[in-house]
């Protein structure tokens, strides 16, 4: 990690007073928890003076210490990050706070400054770099680094060598860097809590309030902890609306939650109509459908199954199961399971819903799902929804031929889904009705499609 500070203010060597580091003398290294920080000068003249802050991070210590990075091969010793901010605050404290014993008036003077920062990670690319610094008055020169010049096909790395130029007080510029370097890195090497909110309010005072990317800055600086971000923005701008959930697991291409909501409502209506009392939500995820089912007294036994243990933990929290009174708690069961294995715990139910589930299985594993659901669980009613691939063309942001979610193994056209549904119905003794769900287009049909299977001989 290397930060170079250059000024052409005359005499340029006064930079030494601002930084509280004598250009004529060797500076002893500063010991930090993650390594050493060194300050030295390359160019020292009245016209131009360059100071360098160089971090020598111990790569083995990082992993063996609290074990924050799990792997020895990581960019932490090299990429500009919160380590650099910590070093700024420790080693160049006077410069950052603008307290110069020898040149107090200079510390408050706008001087021409140039900052070079080696290896700045920016997963938002050059656009983000400019978006962060240009509104603050910097001229930005960002050079991207190739991943490996021997393999041009691999493209660029997320790192930039960044040069920033501005005429400002040294203190204000270092303050910007102190905040924005970890924002670019989108990580912190230490725990982020409420005092980090206070720190950001302090360091952001006078510029963050009006920064066009303040929400993004706040979210990244606070490690995407929603409560902290909300608290900060409320203090920064008390009339601000709350921030949207950032980690929602909804495919980015679906325009609004409304499609998913619509899908759930449609499935719920079908389940109500079926008269089912004991229902299964197969692939329940974080429990959105379960929540709807729990609100309706018709459903006496509600079982949510998912293959992901983590999703079930989320569901348990979201549905606040632990806080429900015993009688209501007993209605709901969450189980880890898989649709490719027969599971006797899932047998004997009235109805089952598979909302946006089948497309997460490889086509060659669908046969197993068909048998576990239709032969063994054998509920009276089975509801299956899946995307309508034809509708994908309606989404501008979705590249042609791409699927809606990175984990989708296939997406079917209406004809493909109908064929499948009919074949399954006839081989397992069900009748089936297929329909569209969500926004309907005259040519390509609805965004999502649904099949409702009913066991033959079932009168309900």
């Amino acid at each position: 990690m290397l930060l170079t500070i250059t000024t052409t203010y005359q005499p340029a060597t006064d930079l030494g007073y601002l930084l509280h580091k004598n250009p004529a003398r060797a500076q002893p290294p500063t010991e930090l928890s993650f390594g050493q920080a060194h300050v030295f000068y390359s160019e020292v003249s009245a016209e131009r003076c360059s100071a360098h802050l160089l971090l020598d991070v111990d790569p083995v210590g990082l992993v063996r210490g609290h074990g924050q990075p799990q792997q020895y091969v990581n960019d932490r010793p090299y990429a500009a990050s919160s380590f650099l901010s910590v070093a700024l605050a420790r080693v160049l404290r006077e410069g950052l706070t603008g307290r110069s014993r020898e040149r107090p008036e200079l510390a408050n003077t706008l001087i021409p400054l140039e900052f070079q920062i080696a290896c700045v990670p920016s997963r938002g690319g050059e656009k983000l770099l400019r978006g962060l610094f240009e509104p603050l008055g910097y001229s930005v020169d960002a050079q991207s680094l190739e991943l490996d010049e021997r393999f041009p096909a691999w493209g660029d790395s997320p790192y930039f060598n960044l040069t920033l130029r501005i005429t400002a007080t040294l203190s204000s510029a270092l303050t910007h860097l102190y905040v924005l370097i970890p924002v670019l890195d989108d990580d912190k090497h230490y725990w982020v809590g409420e005092d980090e909110v206070q720190k950001l309010l302090r360091f952001g005072s006078g510029w963050l309030e009006t920064h066009p990317l303040r929400e993004e800055i706040a979210a990244r600086y606070l490690k995407h902890r929603r409560a902290l971000t909300r608290s900060l923005l409320a203090q920064l701008e008390p009339d601000l609306e709350s921030v949207d959930d950032v980690n929602e697991e909804i495919p980015v291409t679906e325009p609004a939650q409304s499609l998913h909501q619509q899908r759930l409502e449609t499935v719920l209506a079908e389940l109500r109509r079926s008269g089912a009392k004991r229902v299964l939500d197969l692939g329940c995820g974080e429990g959105k459908l379960l929540r709807l089912l729990m609100a309706d007294k018709q459903f006496e036994q509600i079982t949510g199954m998912d293959v992901s243990h983590r999703a079930l933990e989320f569901a348990e929290k979201r549905l606040k199961l632990a806080e429900l009174p015993e009688a209501r708690r007993a209605r709901v069961t969450l189980l880890q399971g898989s649709l490719t294995y027969r599971d006797v715990r899932l047998e004997g139910f009235d109805a089952a819903a598979l909302v946006e589930v089948i497309e997460h299985l490889e086509l060659y594993r669908l046969a197993a799902l068909e048998r576990t659901v239709f032969e063994f669980m054998r509920p009276r009613v089975v509801i299956v929804t899946t995307p309508n691939a034809e509708y994908n063309a309606q989404w501008q942001t979705l590249p042609a031929g791409a699927m809606r979610h990175s984990d989708h193994r296939f997406e079917w056209t209406r004809a493909e889904f109908t064929d499948w549904a009919k074949r399954v119905a006839s081989s397992f003794g069900y009748t089936v009705r297929v329909s569209g769900v969500g926004l309907e287009d005259a040519l390509v049909g609805a965004a999502s499609q649904m099949a409702v299977f009913t066991l033959v001989g079932d009168s309900a």
Binding site: M1, Y41, G61, N74, A79, C119, A153, W154, G337, T340
Partner: protein, 843 residues
């Protein structure tokens, strides 16, 4: 007085408080066999006499009782049991588990009971209680009261003197022939086909002169019943089999036809159908003595037999695990008729419930009753009725060889009311069943029995983690017959500049008593397991997979190639080389499982390269070179400059290290497949061959691939007793890694090696100094880093490697033995689950 009770029974002691039940129980039964109501009162209430605790005490007692009866253990109930309703509940429980209820009544004089209670300060309930007990006991032994309640044996003891003389004898159940170890020839439904029976016996090596049958030395015939009806000569068959049973050369269980014939002969009203008429006509020509012998013979037949230490069960219509070795009406009905669903099919015949599909028992079950064209194994059960009387054939199963022997019917003697069940066109019954595995066979805490390392435990949370991977990413379980184990590195070297050196590997095996080891080049690619069949037909026959003739998958069971046509091309290439090298004939197989490395690394690891290895290299290169540049222009920083120059040098070496394993792939020709284990082929897991054999076999295949996609693994055999050989090994490794090789794998020459303390590591890896930069970071070779990195614990990794190896080989062995897929899958799933145990990922 001698009391003889069946070895598996529920013994209900009946007697007043103070009648001496507990002493009696202690005298004649093991403490663990006795469930005493007093004891359970104590358990649930800390007071053996607390009457208010009685309901809870009995609930707990019944819970244990059911567990014991389920496990087939004789159990004694030590409670007063004086009330009829209490006993009825016990009888019902015994029935539910097909265990015989036995009553032993201690009908002691009231005075004696009172005296005994008086001497016990904890039993100060009133005399009226004892009086009530005593009169209830006396009522219950009057007439055949207890027998009517359902007790099969009732013993009444009337005085302390009589109690003192009791000897207790446990009698073997009729169906328990565990002590007979075979070998057996189990013969299917004969139905009066005497010629075919004689022919079959001859083919099995039995000597026949008239009705005298001499089995080959040590062998015993076992008839699955239905000797009679429909066929041309029921009396001759009966005469022959009855003779063999009487001579002790055969066992026989009854079939439904045999029983019905017996009842008809005995004058019972039965509907004369299904060939019974023929039997009656034929027997009418026999003497009355013979007919009465037949009645006695069939009447004396035992519903089913448990043989060979419980490993073999023979019954006419099969036998569920829960009923094996038990005695009850239900057991007998099942043995004769199997289980029916209560429905009838289009031919008016009862629809049979497919108990075999659900069978999970460890005993092999051989049965008949349902004619089929070809016998098929389903979950360790097999039906060997091949419809001889309907013009099919008469079949025997040789046990323990598990070989089927048949003779064709000379003609069709009867027309079946429905056609013999046609052989399923595409998949066998077992293969169809295997399409759906049970979740309960993989989740939760599991213990896998392995041949190599005994019981291996899989923790519940690891199984849960594995479920997600298996369900979301793994290939069809029918292909997934093996997952490779993790491999431990060698002990850490103390040589300057190194973490791993071959010397430690050689010492490890030498210390384990190994004489020869092999150093194999470790390819830097991605692990690939190749399961390949000679053709589509072989794939469907052996793996039950349709439309695919092989697969390539990763060490976590994912399909290796996203592009299935590339997978097909690679399999085609390999198949062609196997065919050209005469592999199929040489190994006598139509399929093989190969453990391979597939290169380049970049083909599979592109996202790792682009997301981790290359970015870190780019960042390090840029950050450190800029630091070196500014340090070069600065003063007072000479030492720092030197330090950053040496850091920068390591980064260049790191970037070279990964670049060696990267090359672009456009077509199959850009890939390299290096097989190094020929794991299994038909009938064999090749863990009994040494690694020289493996590499030579595989080299023959590779040599047949002229275009060089198949890649032979370099190797060096080392004699550990020779210093020269060991030095040569070190030089070989140094040269290999100097050329940029990842390193070497050191294996004992034998695939499976045991040292003084058990199984040895099947292999340890010795990674090259440069390669390890990809693992420990570019700068790891700097002395201040190396000294810390040397402290690394290998024991968790080594234990894991051994457990995974044992479980992985177990899975393959089960597959080769043609066990149901769930048994193979259990092991494969366990390997995946073990992989989620936390170990140092750098090892």
């Amino acid at each position: 007085m001698n009391i003889a009770i069946p070895e598996l029974s529920l013994v209900v002691l009946i007697g007043s408080s103070g009648s001496g039940k507990s002493s009696f129980a202690k005298t004649h039964f093991k403490p663990t066999e006795i469930l005493s109501s007093d004891f359970f009162r104590g358990l649930v209430a800390d007071d053996e006499n607390s009457q208010s605790a009685t309901p809870d005490a009995f609930e707990a007692l019944y819970f244990i009782l059911e567990k014991r009866l389920k496990a087939g253990l004789l159990t004694v109930i030590d409670a007063t049991n004086v009330r009829s309703e209490d006993r009825k509940k016990l009888v019902a429980t015994a029935r539910a588990f097909h265990v015989l209820p036995v009553a032993i009544v201690l009908d002691m004089p009231e005075r004696l009971c009172l005296e005994r209670n008086a001497s016990r300060p904890d039993r100060q309930f009133g005399a009226h209680v004892v009086r009530g007990h005593v009169s209830a006991v006396q009522r219950s032994v009057r007439g055949r009261h207890l027998e009517r309640e359902g007790f099969r044996h009732v013993f009444v003891l009337r005085s302390p003197e009589e109690v003192a003389t009791v000897t207790l004898e446990r009698t073997r159940l009729w169906n328990n022939l565990r002590h007979l170890r075979g070998p057996f020839d189990i013969i299917g439904d004969v139905h009066g086909c005497i010629d075919e029976l004689r022919g079959l016996l001859e083919q099995l090596g039995y000597g026949l002169s008239n009705d005298l049958v001499t089995p080959p030395a040590g062998r015993t015939a076992v008839f699955v019943g239905d000797l009679v009806d429909r066929g041309p000569d029921t009396p001759a068959v009966l005469r022959l089999v009855m003779g063999m049973v009487a001579a002790g050369t055969a066992l026989c269980v009854p079939g439904n036809h045999d029983v019905k014939l017996m009842r008809a002969l005995g004058g019972k009203q039965v509907s004369v159908a299904h060939g019974l008429a023929q039997s009656l006509e034929q027997l009418a020509l026999e003497t009355p003595e013979f007919r009465s012998d037949v009645i006695k013979f069939v009447d004396g037949l035992v519903s089913h037999y448990v043989l060979d230490d419980g490993q073999l069960v023979v019954a006419h219509a099969g036998m569920k695990a829960a009923l094996q070795g038990r005695g009850s009406g239900v057991v007998r009905e099942f043995a004769l008729y199997g289980e029916t669903t209560g429905e009838t099919d289009e031919y008016g015949l009862p629809v049979r419930a497919n108990w075999a599909a659900e069978y999970r028992g460890s005993a092999m079950v051989v049965y008949g009753h349902t004619p089929t064209l070809e016998p098929e194994w389903v979950n360790r059960t097999i039906c060997i009725d091949t419809g001889c009387v309907f013009g099919g054939k008469l079949t025997a199963l040789r046990y323990p060889e598990n070989a089927l022997v048949s003779v064709n019917a000379l003609r069709e003697y009867a027309v079946p009311s429905k056609p013999l069940q046609p052989v399923q066109e595409l998949l066998t019954q077992q293969q169809s069943l295997d399409d759906v595995l049970n979740l309960s066979d993989v989740i939760g805490k599991r213990i896998v029995e392995t041949r190599l390392r005994g019981r291996v435990t899989v923790r519940e949370e690891n199984a849960a983690a594995a479920l997600e991977v298996m369900a979301r990413f793994a290939v069809n379980p029918k292909w997934l017959v093996y997952l490779p184990p993790t491999m431990s590195p060698v002990e850490t070297s103390n040589m300057d500049g190194y973490l791993e050196r071959p010397e430690e590997a050689l010492s490890y095996y030498a210390a384990g008593g190994v004489e020869r080891v092999l150093l194999e080049e470790k390819h830097m690619g991605s692990r690939a397991v190749v399961v390949i069949a000679r053709d589509l037909e072989a794939a469907s026959e052996r793996f039950g997979v349709l439309d695919e003739s092989g697969i390539v998958y990763t060490r976590t069971g994912r399909r290796f190639f996203g592009d299935l046509s590339l997978e097909q091309q690679l399999l085609e290439r390999l198949r062609a080389a196997m065919t050209a090298s005469g592999f199929w004939e040489r190994l006598g197989t139509t399929w093989a499982v190969l453990d391979c490395e597939l290169m380049p690394w970049s083909a599979k690891a592109q996202s790792l390269l682009e997301g981790q290895y290359a970015p870190v290299g780019a960042a390090a290169q840029s950050a450190l070179s800029q630091a070196v540049a500014v340090l070069g222009q600065s003063h007072h920083v000479a030492e720092l400059l030197e330090r950053f120059e040496s850091r920068l040098a390591t980064v260049a070496a790191y970037r070279d290290a990964y670049a060696r394993y990267c090359w672009p792939v456009q077509s199959l020709e850009d890939y390299r497949l290096a097989p190094f284990h020929l794991l299994a082929t038909e009938g064999a897991v090749h863990s009994d061959k040494n690694h020289r054999w493996h590499l030579e076999e595989l080299a023959q295949i590779c040599a047949a691939d002229l275009r060089g996609v198949l890649f032979t693994t370099q190797q060096l055999e080392v004699d550990l007793s020779s210093e020269a050989s060991r030095s040569e090994a070190v030089r070989w490794w140094e040269a290999l890694t100097a050329r940029g090789g990842e390193g070497a794998v050191c294996k004992p020459l034998e695939f499976i090696s045991h040292g003084k303390r058990g199984l040895l590591q099947p292999a340890v890896k010795v990674r090259g100094r440069e390669y390890l930069r990809i693992i420990y970071g570019a700068e790891y070779t700097l002395p201040e880093h190396l000294v810390r990195l040397r402290s690394r614990g290998l024991s968790a990794k080594r234990s894991l490697a051994l457990r995974e190896f044992a479980v992985g080989m177990e899975g393959l062995e089960r597959f080769v033995r043609r066990e149901p897929l769930r048994r193979t899958h259990e092991a494969v799933f366990a390997v995946l689950a073990l992989e989620s145990e936390p170990v140092d990922s750098r090892l």
